[in-house]
């Protein structure tokens, strides 16, 4: 490839192509349960079930607003931690039941604990099973088991020592993905990994060379066809010197972030310019500056295989 900036070759065969990219999204949250649900959660730690009154209906867990009318609750009540089983389902993860707490009108869904095929019956009397170590979450009520006594009481006024609501529930969601590269990105990253070059593709209408390659030209919505080999040498179109730190950075600030038009392409590639002093970059890494990729020792098949671009003196 030395001495050439553009050649055209056949696309690699499918067997050469990289197939997928593992990715993960981790989202930390601080969730706000609000007044009624917050009190419900707080009181679980004291082994008490708090419901809410909505006209003639009593709802547990307590809710700020009626699910049907949207009207605010008329107040909280304490309900007995016992009820009757209205329905259930068993999956590989366990059994969930619809439990109608005594004196309430809307069932709640929770885990059923220690039932067998004989005891798991609609109408079965159940009682709350409490967690030993309450943390202010729904699982402070561990679930429901067969009732051991016939004790119960009608919904009554909340106790005088009602706890303030749980204000915040910390929550984290982690989602894993396996993203298919598809034939176009697969071809590109395959070339990056094994041949240390990039590959673009030509729009059949406007003849622009698109990097990353794709089936259709974004602008013309015409199909692309001709593959083009691209040497990782180009011209800076714009630069920004980054001084702030944030998660996901590959270089320690200050560093230079640039839009680069690689020779033979019509699109802009975002990458970093390295091996230059931040102060000098203000005058050196300006539009029109020529740069060449410095390839890493790693071969991951992604654009991080280019450590950075280096200014060509």
């Amino acid at each position: 490839m030395k001495g050439e900036t553009m050649t055209t070759t056949d696309a690699p065969t499918a067997s050469d192509e990289m197939e997928s990219l593992a990715a993960q999204l981790r989202m930390p949250y601080t969730l706000t349960p609000g007044w009624a649900t917050g009190i419900f959660l707080a009181e679980l730690g004291r082994h008490r079930l708090i419901g809410s009154r909505h006209g003639d209906t009593i709802s547990v867990p307590a809710q700020d607003f009626s699910g049907t009318s949207g009207e605010p609750t008329e107040g909280l009540v304490e309900v007995a931690p016992v009820g009757a089983l209205q329905g259930f389902t068993t999956t590989a993860d366990g059994t969930l039941g619809l439990v109608l707490i005594d004196g309430t009108d809307i069932p709640m869904i929770h885990r059923l604990l220690d039932f067998d095929s004989e005891t798991l019956q609609i109408g079965a009397r159940v009682e709350a099973v409490w967690s030993d170590k309450p943390v202010g979450s729904m699982l402070d009520l561990a679930g429901f088991a067969l009732a051991s006594s016939s004790e119960s009481f009608s919904p009554r006024a909340v106790p005088g020592d009602l706890l303030p609501p749980v204000l915040q529930v910390d929550y984290s969601m982690t989602l894993d993905y396996q993203h298919a590269y598809g034939p176009y990105y697969g071809t590109l990253f395959n070339a990056v990994k094994y041949d240390r070059r990039l590959r673009g593709v030509t729009c059949t209408k406007c003849a622009r060379v698109l990097l990353p390659p794709r089936a259709m030209c974004d602008v013309c919505f015409a199909p692309t066809s001709q593959w083009v080999d691209i040497d990782a040498v180009g011209t800076v179109q714009a630069s920004s010197i980054v001084h702030i730190e944030f998660i996901g950075q590959r270089m320690k600030p200050p560093y230079v972030y640039s839009e680069i038009v690689l020779d033979g392409t019509s699109t802009r590639l975002i990458h970093m310019i390295g091996d230059v002093d931040a102060e000098d970059a203000k005058t050196a890494a300006t539009p029109g500056a020529r740069v060449r990729a410095v390839w890493s020792d790693r071969r991951t098949g992604s654009l991080t295989d280019i450590d950075y671009f280096k200014l060509i003196p």
Partner: protein, 378 residues
């Protein structure tokens, strides 16, 4: 023929990619551009004739935020008005049809896409749940379907075995449908008989698939010159139920009934007796029965009667959502299937149906419902 406001909006053409459990060698953009290219093909319209693009997908499923921004080129939306609807594509169609009916635009492209194979589908469904009360106890899409099923079957006087006629019809129809990756009825004994979310078996739950669908819609003026057989959108309606699953009706979908009534009313006061063909979405067999009852095609608790004749072709002739559920695109695929049949397009079985009802569902445990009615000139 009924004269309604929405007789001004027509489906000109539509297409979808093969619906298959895993398009492991295609990106979203590859699937989307294939669907859009095929929807435009054979019409006299090109991408420059499209006034707007409205699309449906899920950022959670796609694994990126505002994922439509990365898909614009594949959708043909460069420098066009584009909107994303985080619901099934049928809601996008409703949005687009309203734009055209209002006179604000002439031609629109409605797109929906899904690659559930790239992520954990159970986690996706659970992510729809409020996180304080329902999510921590382990409620998920499977157990929600199981809880509905137990109560529905008891109320209808049916057993789990009775549901087999629903899933067998679905898979047999899908096997005849070239657009769905099914060659024959599954023969796996565990699929049909093992408990999955009691009383349901695996065969009672929809199979997630990858795919993209694109629908080309226009006003009457464009339709007159672009096609000899426009499919008119005559009625539309949508309604949403409560979020808390336990607070919803145990064995009916009242929100679906409201959506259907709205569509019938808009279509000039038609009713289920005027519907020749129905394409409905459901994430379970029991869900499918409850939808058919809610839209009035069967009496309450008698949806199963529609499947007594295994060769019936009025309900989900495509196979419906059970064998092919491209989550977020499922309802829009139903619209494509109905329009293909009303339009007598090549590749689908011939029918003398002139009217169709299309249904899409969204949200956790089918919380949200959208109903569209279609009609073709006789």
């Amino acid at each position: 023929m009924t004269e309604t406001l929405l007789r001004h909006t027509a489906v000109l053409n539509s297409a979808h990619t093969l619906l298959t459990p895993s398009w492991s060698d295609r990106q979203h953009i590859d699937l989307i551009s294939e669907a859009v290219t095929r929807a435009l093909k054979g019409t006299s319209l090109g991408i420059n004739d499209i006034d707007f693009v409205i699309d449906s997908g899920s950022d959670f499923l796609d694994g990126r935020s505002i994922s439509n921004c990365g898909f614009l080129g594949a959708m043909g939306a460069h420098h066009k008005e584009e909107s994303r609807v985080e619901e099934d594509g049928l809601w996008s169609l409703m949005y687009g049809a309203n734009k055209i009916a209002s006179g604000a635009a002439s031609v629109g492209l409605i797109i929906a896409y899904s690659k559930p194979s790239e992520s954990d589908v159970d986690a996706f469904w659970t992510s729809l749940l409020e996180p304080f009360i329902q999510r921590p106890v382990g409620l998920d899409q499977r157990s929600a379907a199981g809880l509905y099923a137990q109560r529905y079957l008891a109320a209808a006087g049916l057993g789990a075995d009775d549901l087999r006629s629903v899933s067998e019809h679905a898979w047999a129809a899908a096997a005849r449908n070239a657009g769905v990756d099914v060659s024959e009825l599954p023969t796996d004994d565990a699929f049909w008989n093992d408990d999955f979310a009691t009383p349901l078996r695996r065969s009672d739950l929809s199979r997630p698939v990858d795919g993209a669908v694109a629908i080309l819609i226009s006003n009457a003026e464009v339709a007159a010159s672009a096609t000899s057989r426009p499919i008119w959108i005559t009625g539309m309606g949508s309604a949403i139920d409560q979020h808390f699953l336990a607070a919803r009706e145990p064995d009916t979908f009242p929100a679906c009934e409201v959506a259907a009534k709205s569509a019938y009313r808009m279509a000039g006061g038609i009713g289920p007796a005027d519907i020749d063909l129905a394409e409905v979405s459901a994430t379970s067999t029991v869900g499918e029965l409850m939808v058919l009852e809610a839209v009035g095609l069967a009496e309450k608790h008698h949806g199963i009667d529609l499947y007594r004749d295994p060769d019936q072709s009025r309900i989900n002739p495509s196979g419906g959502a059970l064998p092919a559920d491209p989550i977020m695109a499922t309802g829009l695929v139903r619209l494509h299937e109905a329009a293909s049949r009303l339009g007598g397009r090549p590749g689908v079985e011939a029918t003398d149906a002139r009217t169709a009802l299309v249904h899409g569902a969204g949200g956790f445990g089918m919380q949200n419902h959208c109903v569209i009615t279609l009609e073709v000139n006789s």
